[in-house]
């Protein structure tokens, strides 16, 4: 009997504590309305208790976030001048010493509990959420697709060739929540009621599997953008483009844009691939040699077999950089691809005398 009584008492106590906890949470977590002061010139009022990233998104202010606010991508950084509270352990792996000293925070990890002052780039205000439908899906290779989206609301988008958007994959099959991933725009800004993305199937990738195996022409999609500062600088310098795999996307957009505007600059495009089956849009890029007065397209294969009868360039792209660069100080490099390739190319470009500030790249996040 005593044991039964003790169990009942313990159950009553724990039950009471649970009720108190629920009630306390309801009131203690009610932060009321909070004001976010942005760049000392714009205020937005939000309901407290949610992440800074979420609060800004609710107000149609879209900071980049490739992981959808899970604290894993590190792209939603912004300067929190005050009101952000202490830096959380979940933020520290993604912030360097300089960023920590400069009050840079991961907006997805900062909870809005009081008024905040933040600083974000003005370009962020140009970022919007778009609704679209899939108008075309093209198989470029066995694992790369080109997907074109026709915008519905808003009907047009203003972006610079080379920038990227964040595509929202809806829940599907076992995926229970929306997934957000960043992809470079591969179409030209002049076609402002469409965007095209070039997407490679990533093993175990949630968003790329959705695109490759489930997305159909006519399906509605949403994305935010444009993001990024990977775009052509308006100088007269020679341009070296370097890309691999789906990294061709922003370069394609840049060249199609230059075709529209006209360009007399000296340009070379090195595209790295393993074998002929990894090449795509070859004829289209060779055709640019007839469009521009000084443009060369050079695919470079790393694993061409004798039976491929490949007569083009092989091995490392870096091998061909010395002959490609005529005036290093007057050369800009635009690169997109795997970090290892970009790192090697950047090292060689610097060694050849290309100024660091002239090397622009879009690494695979």
């Amino acid at each position: 009997m005593l044991i039964v009584r003790d169990i009942l008492v313990a159950s009553a106590i724990s039950g009471s504590l649970a009720v108190i906890l629920v009630i306390a949470q309801r009131y203690l977590n009610d932060y009321g309305d909070c004001t976010i002061h942005i760049n000392q010139k714009r205020d937005v009022t939000v309901k407290g208790g949610i992440s800074l990233l979420g609060a800004l998104t609710d107000r149609q202010i879209f900071l980049p976030s490739a992981c959808g606010g899970k604290g894993s991508c590190g792209t939603c950084k912004c300067k929190v001048d005050n009101g952000g509270g202490p830096v959380l352990p979940t933020e520290k792996p993604l912030l360097n010493a300089q960023e920590l000293a400069g009050n840079i925070r991961l907006s997805c990890q900062v909870k809005v509990k009081s008024d905040l002052s933040i600083t974000i780039p003005d370009a962020i205000f140009n970022i919007r959420r778009y609704n679209a439908v899939v108008s075309e899906i093209v198989d470029y290779t066995y694992d790369i697709k080109g997907v074109t989206f026709a915008l519905t609301e808003p009907a047009t988008i203003d972006f610079k060739a080379g920038q990227y958007v964040q595509l929202e994959a809806p829940p599907y099959v076992n995926v229970k929540q929306k997934t957000i991933r960043a992809y470079s725009i591969s179409s030209k800004p002049e076609d402002n009621n469409h965007i095209q993305l070039i997407i490679r199937l990533v093993p175990e990738g949630i968003c790329t599997t959705w695109v490759h195996q489930y997305l159909q022409v006519g399906d509605p999609v949403s994305f935010t953008g444009p993001y990024g500062d990977f775009f052509i600088r308006e100088t007269q310098a020679d341009m070296i483009f370097i890309a691999g795999g789906s990294g061709m996307a922003p370069i394609k957009g840049m060249l199609e844009h230059l075709q529209m505007t006209g360009c007399n600059r000296r340009m070379l495009f090195f595209f790295g691939a393993r074998s002929p089956k990894d090449l795509y849009l070859t004829e289209e890029f060779k055709a640019f040699e007839q469009v521009f007065p000084d443009f060369t397209y050079s695919p470079v294969l790393s694993r061409a077999n004798p039976e491929d009868n490949w007569t083009g360039r092989t091995g490392y792209i870096m091998t061909y950089l010395p002959e490609a660069i005529h005036d290093p100080k007057h050369t800009e490099a635009y690169m997109c691809g795997s970090p290892a390739m970009l790192s090697s190319c950047q090292k060689d470009l610097l060694a050849l005398g290309v100024p660091k500030e002239n090397i622009y790249f879009d690494s695979f996040g």
Partner: protein, 150 residues
């Protein structure tokens, strides 16, 4: 079996569609504690530790990190390549830190064993002794790993 809130969170993060498409448990219906316990027993029988295996995997990943052009032959016994794709992955155990989606593929040139792992696998093995569940796309079977790498 009663679970703490943290264990429930970890179990949820290991499910398909949360961090990766297929999750970390595969077709294995056991709790992750049971998977870890059995693999630790296997390692003990084989005379190896999870840390030793993680060190070995890390050695091959680092040695092949720049192999974006061709695979590298290591120690005249292994052909190894590491392919880096877009994105990064968090640890399902809620351990801080994120891991680049870099997939290393190793082929033992004598016995033909092929192993495939990511930088996240190395962390899961070193810090959590977790080789993933049976049927998981990136499950590393301890017996095969020891046979191939030592």
């Amino acid at each position: 079996m009663k679970q703490t809130p943290l264990e429930m969170k970890i179990q949820a993060r290991m499910q398909p569609g949360t961090i990766t498409l297929s999750g970390f448990l595969g077709t294995d219906e056991r709790h992750y504690h049971a998977i870890i316990a059995e693999d630790e027993q296997t390692l003990a029988r084989l005379g190896k530790t999870a840390e030793e295996i993680a060190d070995r995997l890390d050695y091959f990943t680092k040695a092949s990190w720049d192999s974006f052009v061709t695979p590298v032959v290591i120690d005249n016994l292994y052909e190894v390549e590491t392919e880096i794709t877009r994105g990064k992955l968090p640890c399902p155990f809620t351990h801080k830190g994120i891991y680049r989606k870099a997939i290393t593929t190793l082929t033992h040139l004598n016995n033909g064993i092929v192993l495939r792992w990511t930088t996240l696998n190395i962390h899961l093995i070193r810090d959590h002794h977790f080789f993933e569940g049976t049927g998981s796309p990136f499950r590393l079977d301890p017996e095969q790993v020891v046979k191939a790498l030592f």
